[in-house]
């Protein structure tokens, strides 16, 4: 895919425009936000995967009157898009080639400012602000969190009394996790693995570790392409669900020796262990879907001292058993670091919820106590309704009889 005709910034803007065509919900929401005026003069810091869809969220917030700052970690940064946003006058703190130290410096620079609201992905920025920018945390109206991997530690922080901000858990909206995680992350992680490897899924043994929404999506898309999926899960109800969806369910320890592709879909550190890696067959592939490289035993792999790059985004290691293990995209979430992230249509839903959550923080949250807050059901229904309208679908009307029946007891 290298038929670029212009410079990076121009291609970046073209890609932002392309995404915009398939984001009818965001454009409707953007108009409402601009009319409402709640974001005028507010400074909003966005730390989401930096690619064409989130660029549209940034532009929508900017058009609603917000002052924008955009941050992203290097592995999820698309430089073309970053340049296009800079050309629009937005402050961007992200570079694809930033190393670990530079990444941290960029994040600190992003936070060293009078922000009012933060939109975070993985709760990294919220945690960094709590550690290093206490004055900013005091000043902030609140934050929104995009992912399961971020909501979990924020809930833990809150349980320990350490969270000092109200945070809207965008991830926990049904209009997000039922779509973004299953159809979006599922499709894009499976396809990114295929694009990177040039391999085939038909007939291949695929291990899906974790059967949450992302695991469900990865399993579904892999099976659709002919893979034999084995699900590993610690939660018995989720495991039972996997069995009812037609997958073999087995612990990774049992199934590792025949698993050719492992998708870690847990968002939990250390889900795949050194012992698992030692059992994998020759040439097995390890990727992370949804979370990050912390799900894989990267320290153990690095400690083997056998890392070698064999192909773009593929690093080979030789384990102690003498077998080759391929780690895709350095173990970072495969769809964002080696692909273009989730498909546009699904991010239209998630980012519209983000926009509405950010707006709600500006309107209502000034005196909210710290804690996790849901996206309101009303906003979720709004988002779903606009999307359905765009699909040309019609809803069954709730008649008086139906309403009465639903209320009967």
């Amino acid at each position: 895919m290298s038929t670029a005709t212009g410079n990076a910034e121009h291609v970046g803007q073209d890609r932002i425009d392309w995404a915009s065509r398939s984001m009818p919900v965001l454009s409707t929401v953007a108009k409402r936000l601009a009319d409402g005026g709640a974001l005028v003069g507010k400074t909003v810091g966005i730390s989401l995967v930096l690619e064409p869809k989130t660029a549209n969220l940034a532009l929508a917030l900017r058009d609603a009157g917000a002052n924008l700052r955009v941050h992203c970690w290097s592995s999820s940064t698309d430089d073309e898009v970053a340049d296009a946003l800079r050309a629009q006058g937005i402050a961007v703190f992200a570079r694809r080639d930033a190393d670990a130290a530079e990444n941290l410096a960029l994040a600190r620079e992003f936070l060293d400012y009078d922000l009012d609201i933060i939109a975070d992905d993985g709760a990294d920025i919220i945690r960094l602000a709590h550690k290093e920018f206490p004055d900013l945390v005091k000043r902030l109206i609140g934050a929104s969190e995009e992912t399961t991997s971020g909501v979990r530690p924020l809930q833990m922080m809150h349980n320990d009394g350490a969270l000092r901000l109200p945070v809207i858990a965008v991830n926990d909206a049904a209009a997000k996790y039922l779509f973004d995680n299953i159809y979006g992350t599922g499709q894009s992680c499976v396809m990114a693995f295929l694009d990177i490897s040039n391999l085939q899924l038909a007939g291949r043994h695929v291990g899906v570790v974790g059967y949450g929404w992302v695991g469900m999506g990865v399993a579904r898309h892999a099976a659709a392409l002919g893979a034999r999926v084995v699900v590993s899960e610690v939660d018995p109800v989720k495991a039972l669900r996997a069995a009812h969806d037609g997958y073999e369910v087995a612990s990774l320890t049992e199934s590792a020796d025949r698993t050719e592709v492992v998708f870690a879909c847990t968002g939990i550190a250390g889900s795949v262990t050194a012992e698992h890696v030692e059992r994998l067959p020759e040439g097995a592939n390890l990727c992370t879907a949804g979370g990050g490289s912390f799900e894989l035993p990267m320290d153990y792999l690095a400690g083997l001292g056998t890392a070698r790059s064999v192909r773009r985004a593929v690093t080979a290691y030789t384990n102690k058993a003498g077998r080759t293990v391929h780690v895709i995209a350095d173990g970072d979430c495969v769809n964002c670091s080696a692909g273009e992230g989730n498909p546009i249509e699904v991010m239209d839903l998630s980012l519209s919820l983000q926009a509405l959550a950010i707006n709600r923080l500006a309107v209502e949250a000034l005196n909210w106590p710290p804690g996790l807050y849901p996206v309101s059901e009303e906003l979720e229904h709004d988002v779903a309704r606009i999307r359905l309208q765009h699909l040309g679908a019609s809803l069954e009307p709730v008649t008086d009889d139906l309403r009465a029946a639903m209320r009967s007891w």
Partner: protein, 424 residues
């Protein structure tokens, strides 16, 4: 054990390119158990020793591995590309590094490609592994003497097979030719699973759009069309098929797709994929029926399955709205064509999966070996069924799958039964 490819002191840029190519060929070898095992052993019996074999297929890592296996069996391999746009620079460098003659270079155009094919003919091959019979036809024109001495051709595609059959019918085929496409280990897998998976991959990658909930129209329900429709539906798309052959259309209906005439199904499509192998599957008269924002992609052999000429003629403006996506403005509508209407999985993707090409190239490798070790008469032949079966057996063995044979008591000996039940 693989060598550490990042090792080595102060390499030149060219060394680096060749090493990158070698690494990509090694990745292919690792996922090609049949070609690297069963086929490698079969063709190393001396039958190919010293034979000049031209390999004229998309010159990327998978083809390079086939060329390597043939060269290591003792053949003198001449590698050329079958399309000026698909030749890979690092693979060319790696092949030259291992002493294989390559007459192609990356970044060429139609004119340089014609020149390369003539150069391949001038190297006087005895056998050709051809794609679209491109080198075979040019050898006939450019070097009739070499053409007259050709010992055999193994052809990759349906299009090339049709061309070879036409030459045979006209009495102009003085050597035996094998049609790889007619082998079950090719068309049952390559066309359906390979093209099916990679076409969807390329469409989704070029557009970043979602398959779940999309309305996908497949034009043509051959092996390629079936693969695309099946995978698209399995990933959550609503699928529509239009087909001129009544038996295939009936099959599509019973497979659960919505079947109808082009004028009925095109207005539904948010993604339309052509897979007919013919021309103008989406032609001038179809254009008014396409919906705004539709994505058009081609999975068939011809670059003109989507009539981009007619589309350009009908449009008020044309722009590249994203790499690989050309957008045509027609009144208030905008229609998007992927990869300029060329084969989307090759021109806009990374080609077929390696495991599939392991089968296809095993057919080719054993095909050339069969031509060199049997005395076939001139004409177009199909690879023998036992060779086809042996490839499937080797692939199954690589998966650790065991097969039963048929026991005597399992045979339905209907002649005996009929004799018993029919009074004398």
């Amino acid at each position: 054990m693989t060598a550490r490819i990042t090792d080595g002191g102060a390499p030149t840029a060219q060394d680096g390119v060749a090493r990158e190519g070698a690494a990509r060929i090694e990745w292919v070898r690792r996922h090609s158990p049949v070609l690297d095992g069963y086929v490698r052993r079969a063709v190393s019996d001396g039958a190919l020793a010293g034979k000049r074999i031209a390999v004229v297929i998309h010159l990327e890592a998978k083809t390079a591995f086939l060329a390597t296996v043939l060269a290591e069996s003792g053949a003198q391999v001449i590698a050329a590309g079958s399309n000026p746009r698909t030749t890979s620079a690092d693979v060319v460098a790696a092949l030259r590094d291992r002493g294989i003659t390559v007459v192609a270079d990356a970044g060429g155009d139609q004119a340089s490609w014609e020149h390369e094919l003539r150069a391949a003919a001038d190297l006087e091959p005895e056998y050709i592994i051809d794609d679209g019979a491109e080198l075979t036809m040019r050898t006939a024109e450019h070097r009739p003497d070499v053409f007259g001495r050709l010992q055999g051709v193994s052809e990759e595609t349906t299009t090339g097979t049709t061309r070879l059959r036409a030459m045979a019918a006209a009495g102009h085929l003085p050597f035996p030719a094998l049609t790889a496409n007619d082998a079950r280990c090719k068309h049952l897998f390559d066309n359906k699973y390979g093209t099916g998976q990679t076409t969807l991959q390329a469409v989704l990658r070029l557009t970043n759009r979602q398959i779940a909930g999309a309305r996908v129209v497949v034009v043509g329900y051959g092996f390629v069309g079936r693969g695309i429709a099946e995978y698209a539906r399995a990933m959550g798309a609503r699928t529509f098929v239009t087909e001129v052959d009544p038996v295939r259309a009936l099959e599509a209906h019973m497979d659960g797709h919505t079947v109808g005439s082009a004028s009925e199904v095109f207005p539904h499509g948010t993604i339309i994929v052509t897979a007919t192998g013919g021309m103008r599957a989406i032609g001038a008269t179809d254009i008014p029926r396409l919906r705004d924002d539709v994505v058009l992609a081609n999975a068939g052999h011809h670059d003109l399955e989507i009539d981009v000429t007619a589309l350009a003629h009908a449009s008020s403006s044309i722009r590249e709205s994203r790499p690989g996506v050309t957008s045509y403005r027609l009144g208030t509508k905008e229609l998007h064509v992927l990869a300029g209407g060329a084969l989307v999985n090759i021109a806009g993707g990374s080609g077929h999966p390696i495991e599939i090409m392991d089968l296809t190239f095993s057919v080719q490798g054993l095909g050339i070996h069969h031509l060199a070790s049997s005395l076939l008469p001139a004409g177009v032949h199909v690879i023998p069924a036992q060779v086809d079966d042996s490839i499937a057996r080797a692939k199954l063995a690589s998966y650790g799958v065991r097969l039963d044979g048929v026991r005597d008591d399992q045979r339905d000996d209907h002649t005996t039964r009929i004799e018993r039940s029919t009074p004398a």
